[in-house]
Subunit: 380 residues, 2 copies
């Protein structure tokens, strides 16, 4: 596992303070401990919500990013303000809470707001960020339902800001290789694709992910979104139907959210897809069987380094922080107009599928037809 | 892949000719080219149906078995009589066709009849074999439906002969290891089990397996039975419900049999099971995720050597003909009363599940409850 180096970013080099001239005259100071240098136009990111994902993944990754940097934080927990201010050298002026968040509009050092809150707060803060004139990265799942996804997309369009979903794998090299194999039809037609994304929750029944009013749903709204993503980029198509089943074996622990869900997808080319997601199972794999071979990622969607192989060879790509790659890709999209690898339409498409899966279960496991066209598919 | 040696079995040593005394005085002659020796009571097997499975798997395996040997053949194709008589030194008196088959009752050299015919003929020939006083091995799937399974079981009981199903994996070492891991709860509770068993048929739409009147069904009646078996011995339990879906992408080729079927199983302990079987996909795997680790076979049900691993180690067992082990186990069951590893009740149980899967599909993918108890589970 790659050890992510942490360094204190020299604020004087940030874009907001007119870094361009400084950088060219101070090349050494612009280098991180590991040699990473910031682009002269590096964009400032504010993290909204300082839970474990921000603490252990995003903030460390932002020390290594080239096109963006940690410029501010938004938290509802006063104790975290000091800790983060000290650790990452964040000035008081760049620290917000949920009430005064909208004042971020006046902060020119912050270009991007990354919403890392419980799902129920995604729409509210993404829309407020857009209204504040900031580009938005919204964690997955995009929102509680499709209606909220539409509201976020509309708000970003209206404010003319960019919108990305926190789908880190679209910048990750093993996933890129899968997309290339699919795009180039390396193994011919894909007849079957299977995606499991699950972990086992045992010790904290009161976490927000297991509280439906905060999460909108259980395993499906969490790891299930990775299974859906895997089936789509692993087949290069959107499904035309979905059928689903729910399993409950520990109802005392999983009080009001889904524990395990399986679903079957039909795709236009004839690919048959099957997925499993769970908060009570450990599994993480993408497998595709094709006319001329197969490919597999296992693990396929964890933070720890992915691994994979095809019927021809073992895959072997350099390991980097997935979140570093993801945030740099989004920053480049903003700065240079490179493709948005995980646009809002993709998050909305996945939410349409999530709703169809829940509807299939509610309707006695019946097949639900979908009409998604090419919606949300970025590069195949 | 193990090369199976072929040798001509010395008929004078067979049990039917009073081999016991001869064997003890002729130890060298009792040894095969590869050193395999026949038990002095080695049972004579007649293969009914000389298709590719008999030709390339069973007959070669019977050259290496210790407790049984190829003693006769039953075929509807006159040209095969000579070929087989010559290759395996089978006397004319031990060769039957489908019309004069019942005369096998008078042949004391034949103890076991192995029915390797298309599914539609399993019941008829198994019952006729029982009536002839012969022990019966019936290939999988046991029959066309549960009703026929009952008829076979009843006929064998009435005739007081033993009945085994051609489930070769119950004698295979990787499968035994899986059953041991399950029985001893090595990895704790099994939360999820997944079984894929499928191959791709491309060039022969007229084969009997794709003709419903001969096969009774497509992928599910063929490889699907392995998926069902995997889920059961991989979890150590019979399912309490099944839900299923059917997929058709090449209806011109798969005219009247199922191409791909997925199904989800609920088990009493809470294990969630998922299976896929197909005649249009290449996949063969058993995976179980447990509280304290996982185990996997891949391939899990092919004739070629199986392979497997657990969260602790790679599995590595000697490779032998699965069919050799299977037939020797059944012969020992007859000779010595060792357990019947794949009794008729197991074949019937699987046919109940097959029928439930077809019923689920016919009923719009609805969940079908099952009440199987411990039926067909032999050693867990």
């Amino acid at each position: 596992m790659k050890k992510i180096s942490r360094r204190t970013f020299n604020k004087t080099l940030s874009k907001g303070l007119g870094g361009a001239a400084l950088v060219s005259s101070m090349p050494l100071a612009a280098c991180g401990l590991n040699g990473t240098s910031k682009n002269q136009n590096s964009l400032g990111i504010a993290l909204v919500g300082l839970g474990s994902y921000s603490t252990y993944q995003l903030a460390p990754a932002l020390q290594d990013t080239h096109y963006c940097h940690l410029a501010g934080i938004v938290t509802g927990t006063p104790e975290k303000e000091q800790q983060w201010a000290k650790r990452y050298n964040i000035p008081k002026t760049h620290i917000y809470n949920y009430e005064n968040f909208d004042a971020i509009a006046q902060n020119d050092d912050i270009d991007i707001v990354y919403v890392v809150l419980p799902n129920s707060m995604h729409a509210d803060f993404s829309i407020r960020a857009a209204k504040a004139g900031k580009h938005v990265i919204c964690e997955k799942p995009m929102a509680m339902n499709v209606e909220e996804c539409n509201a976020i997309i509309d708000a970003c369009k209206k404010a003319q800001v960019k919108l990305g979903i926190g789908y880190r794998l679209h910048s990750e090299p093993y996933t890129q290789e899968v997309k290339r194999l699919v795009r180039e039809k390396t193994f011919g037609n894909i007849n079957y694709i299977s995606a499991d994304a699950a972990y086992q929750s045992l010790t904290n029944p009161n976490q927000w992910r297991l509280n439906k009013s905060l999460s909108g749903g259980g395993a499906l709204m969490n790891m299930g979104v990775y299974s859906i993503q895997s089936l789509i980029y692993g087949s290069g198509q959107n499904p035309v139907s979905v059928t689903a089943q729910e399993f409950s074996t520990r109802p005392d622990y999983f009080k009001d959210t889904d524990e395990t869900i399986t679903a079957q997808f039909e795709f236009p080319s004839g690919t048959v897809g099957q997925m499993m997601t769970s908060h009570n199972v450990r599994a993480n794999r993408l497998f595709a069987s094709c006319d001329k071979g197969w490919f597999e990622l296992d693990p396929a969607s964890t933070y720890i380094p992915l691994a994979g192989r095809t019927s021809r060879r073992e895959l072997n790509f350099p390991q980097e922080s997935q979140q570093k790659l993801q945030m740099d890709d989004f920053a480049r999209h903003v700065l240079e107009g490179t493709p948005n690898k995980a646009p809002g339409e993709m998050g909305k498409r996945d939410m349409i599928i999530v709703e169809a899966i829940y509807n299939s279960i509610a309707g006695g496991n019946k097949k639900i037809a979908l009409d998604l066209g090419h919606m949300g598919i970025t590069d195949s």
